[in-house]
Amino acid sequence: MKTVKILLLGFGVIGRGFAKVLLEKSEYIKKKHDVELRVVGIGEHNGCLVDEKGIDLKAALELREKGKWIDSLPQWKKMSAKDMIKSIPADLAVEVVPSDIKTGEPGVGLLEAALSKGLHVVSSDKCAIANKFSDLMVLARKQNKWLLFEASAGGGMPLMNLVRECIQADEIRSMEGILNGTTNYILTKMSRGGMDLETALREAQELGYAEADPTYDVEGIDAAAKAVILANDIMGMSKKFSDVKVTGIRGITKEAVQLAKKNGYVIKLIAEIKDNKLSVGPKIIPENHPLNIESNLNAVMFKTDIGKDIVIIGRGAGGRETQSAIFSDVLRICKDLQS
């Protein structure tokens, strides 16, 4: 059985989610894919856990659940994540750091370091990928390594893999969809529950669907970053965040939502990619439109020349749901390493 050594870059919600799912599914993965996934390093902003025999993920998770930092474990080393990438032998890096939308850092630096070292890379870091898509793809090609990032746009919804594997001959003419669960939850509550935006946002924060600072979600920035990734990866564009026309949902009133409802419509924050243009903004759609999905769900409709309309609905975020995409990418690379 092939052992694949992994460097896990980031131990936040997504990083811990990766560790939890790996603990839970390692036997299943061995049986189904004939591969052992072994985390040999966890990189954090102030140091790294390193053990070439495999990190004790259970111990690391237990510490974090008790609110303690992982630096009390004996394998903790005061080294940067980039130094760990350079010095610890591994096959692939899983980069799950939350980066800055304006610069893409620290994710971009980590991705460049991992690819330059000759590692395959799986990333959920939408800010890094959206910022430096072309540069990173060029580097990956030059190094002849995989750079997969299904989890960066759409969370648990397979979008890029769906197109790559299942829509082989079709040309994707356009894409439109709901790429942000927080705003979808807010708009659903405004439509169904008659709430105003602030009340619905507070409820989303209490349920953990929205961050304490919801700016990225509410202003459409999160959806715009994901739209850039999908436009570039699926439709072969070379777009940057600044190419997206973005309007958030701040200005939407309870009265407007109810007026739409009275006339048979709902308001949704829709990302649109078509005619070489990208936009994110509130749109009215008929109540029976396939993109009228509720709560914090995401949905995307592809319009293709052969299969026509293809709609996919799923969980766009979440520490556990996102792992579906990350592990799909990891196991895709493992298949290559096995052959």
């Binding site: 200005g251 009265e255 109810q258 007026l259 009275k262 048979g264 749109k283 759609i285 439109h289």
Partner: protein
């Protein structure tokens, strides 16, 4: 005989379609196809596209009889030429009334474009108001021009414009 197409707003109830088809047959229309656009069903009405062949005067008689029967025609075309008819919905949020709603409407409308319906929600005079409107245009070009005008007006009057999904 000309190729004809009409899109009507049909009540989703038994017998409604049969009544429409009777009118077409009575006026010597030769039916080709009938398709219901169920995804656009709204308030019990379904848009239905009917394609048939008819002489020009018979086409006009069919349209007149349908209108007489109280059936709303969204779109009508003969010989591939649209006679009237695209509709789009939009919402404006902000101080729509205070920024002269009459000016907003008149700036969009011309001989090929009209506001077909307007629904206003006003919480109080101080608060932003919301307007849901349906715009009708003779053809796609007129609609596109109207939507560009609408976007410019919304920007100038600092109103949030929310259009349908295909109206960029």
């Amino acid at each position: 005989m000309e190729d004809c197409k009409i899109e009507i707003k049909l009540e989703d109830s038994p017998g409604a379609l049969s009544h429409v088809l009777d009118i077409i047959a009575k006026n010597k229309g030769n039916l080709f196809s009938v398709s219901h656009i169920r995804e656009r069903k709204k308030e019990g009405f379904v848009p239905v596209v009917i394609q048939f062949q008819a002489a020009k005067q018979d086409f006009q008689a069919i349209v007149a009889d349908l209108e007489k029967a109280g059936i709303e025609i969204n779109e009508k075309a003969i010989g591939g030429v649209e006679e009237a008819g695209l509709t789009q919905e939009f919402i404006l949020i902000g101080h729509v009334i205070d920024t002269d709603i009459k000016d907003t409407i008149y700036s969009i409308c011309d001989k090929d474009v009209m506001i077909k319906s307007l629904d206003i929600s006003l919480k109080s005079l101080k608060d932003p108001s919301s307007v849901f409107a349906e715009i009708g245009a003779k053809n796609a070009r007129a609609m596109a021009t109207a939507m560009v005008k609408l976007e410019e007006i919304a920007k100038r009057k600092k109103l949030l414009l929310i259009t349908g999904i295909n109206n960029n």
